[in-house]
């Protein structure tokens, strides 16, 4: 690895100050499962300062409140998420994602914040966050701002965060009544692979428990960023939850996908899998919605 410096700020203000003064040369370090590997492989030659943010209290928050929803610090590792009773109970789709990010040892370190900011198009936490209508709290030299998670990734490896800014936490809305969400991923093995395609769906039913009141469908690894597919949601909202609507939503998602062929999958395979995963995610979301 090229030579790097390391700092470990204790407060959010300190972290922001360090990042602001170092600019492009600095990169926040949470779990390191992407960053350390990238540094070692020479893919981040400009980064000479690694800022370990794991001591900053706001980044370690994991708090659920029925009114406020879930606050998840950007540096909370997956293993803490999967063992948190409130998340297991209230946000099973988050558990879907957190338990699939790499294997056990990766989950010992990897974070949702790192996963979002590394901005791989195939990131396994991002479709879930898109589907749940997540907000991102971002701190920078000009203060703190909150934006929808969809506004963060802008391309492979790129986010809309400005120089000196860092992701602090995620805010997930409290689970609406009669709502459910599901995240699914297709990989050739059973673990340890980057997604060929992944997808998340969220539904909320009307009081009749049949009509869809609200919906979000997100697909990953088939475009430069995760896609929130409005056209798929449009096929669902106001319609009866079931095979017919799900099929049309899946087709809309397939049409919105812009996959490439690479060593992980082909265009045709990916497009086909979008249809399969969106349909299956919707079925899973419906089952969870009915249980709530």
């Amino acid at each position: 690895m090229h030579a790097i410096e390391y700092e470990r700020p204790e407060t959010l203000d300190q972290a922001v100050a360090v990042l602001a003064s170092a600019g492009r040369q600095a990169r926040p370090l949470a779990g390191g499962t992407d960053l350390i590997v990238q540094l070692r492989e020479g893919r981040r030659p400009d980064v000479t300062l690694v800022v370990d943010v794991k001591k900053v209290p706001e980044l370690n928050a994991l708090v659920y409140d029925p009114e406020q929803g879930l606050t998840l610090g950007a540096a909370v590792p997956c293993y803490r998420i999967t063992s948190n009773a409130a998340v297991v109970q209230q946000y099973p789709a988050i558990i879907d994602s957190a338990s699939l990010v790499g294997g056990t040892a990766i989950q010992g370190r990897a974070t949702f914040g790192g996963n979002l900011c590394t901005a791989s198009p195939a990131a396994d936490t991002v479709p879930t966050m898109f589907a749940l209508g997540t907000q991102c709290v971002i701190a920078g030299p000009n203060g703190t701002r909150t934006i929808p998670v969809e506004a963060v990734p802008t391309g492979p490896g790129r986010t809309s965060l400005q120089e000196g800014e860092m992701l602090v936490a995620f805010r997930f809305p409290p689970p609406a009544p009669r709502s459910g969400a599901r995240f699914l991923r297709f990989i050739p093995r059973n673990e340890m692979d980057i997604a060929v395609v992944n997808a998340a769906a969220w539904l909320q039913l009307e009081e009749d428990e049949r009509t869809i009141r609200a919906a979000r469908v997100a697909i990953g690894a088939v475009a430069p960023t995760c896609l929130l597919v409005q056209e798929a949601a449009a096929e669902l909202i106001g319609h009866e939850a079931g095979e017919e609507a799900f099929r049309r939503a899946a087709e809309a998602a397939m049409a919105a996908a812009r996959p490439i062929s690479d060593m992980r999958g082909t265009i045709a395979q990916r497009r086909h899998l979008v249809g399969v995963l969106v349909r299956r995610a919707l079925e899973g979301a419906l089952a969870r919605a009915r249980r709530n």
């Binding site: 410096e5 590997v37 540094l39 294997g103 673990e191």
Partner: protein, 174 residues
């Protein structure tokens, strides 16, 4: 381009306080092996995909190749060298020997550390849970069959079940 100043890091490794010097670019794996002489953790891939470098850090399983050594400051680390005690081998180590769950043995330290982390939090895992937990530890020699049986055997022994011995028989006898 050249080296930076080394940092002094204090950590607890295998129950003992340890201090070491390292550059920020050195991974925990590199420091364990090249600075501290703890060569039990192995480098198989250096990018978090094989588990041969597994250690337990503050009670959770991590790939030490994906941890910077400087991040170990103030943490408690258990490596394979800390699994046995002066009183003897850990039940997992004995089970791996009894079940012939190693061939070349290079992945074995990672597996034993990972399996210990599993049994520490779930003393009675079923076969699927064992395979899922260990999916990040690659073995190219055994096909995993005897490794899974060894973990089951150790779990049974640690739970003090009498059928531990009978369950150890690998394959039927004609």
């Amino acid at each position: 381009m050249t080296t930076t100043h080394k940092r002094l890091v204090s950590a607890e490794i295998n129950g003992e306080p340890v201090e070491f010097l390292c550059e920020p670019r050195q991974s925990l794996l590199e420091v364990l092996r090249e600075v501290l002489g703890l060569t039990g953790a192995k480098e198989g891939c250096n990018n978090g995909n094989c588990g041969a470098c597994c250690v337990i850090m503050d009670d959770r399983l991590v790939n030490s190749c994906c941890v910077l050594a400087v991040e170990a400051e103030g943490t408690r680390i258990t490596t394979i060298e800390g699994i046995a005690t002066p009183q003897g081998l850990h039940p997992l180590q004995r089970a791996f020997l009894e079940e012939a769950a190693l061939q070349c043995g290079v992945c074995t330290p990672g597996f034993i550390v990972a399996a210990k982390a599993l049994l520490d939090r779930n003393p009675d895992p079923d076969e699927h849970q064992i395979r899922y937990w260990l999916a990040g530890n690659l073995c190219r020699c055994t096909g995993y069959d005897k490794i899974v049986k060894a973990v089951q055997r150790a779990a049974a022994e640690m739970a003090g079940r009498a059928e531990a011995g009978a369950a150890a028989e690998t394959g039927a006898r004609a």
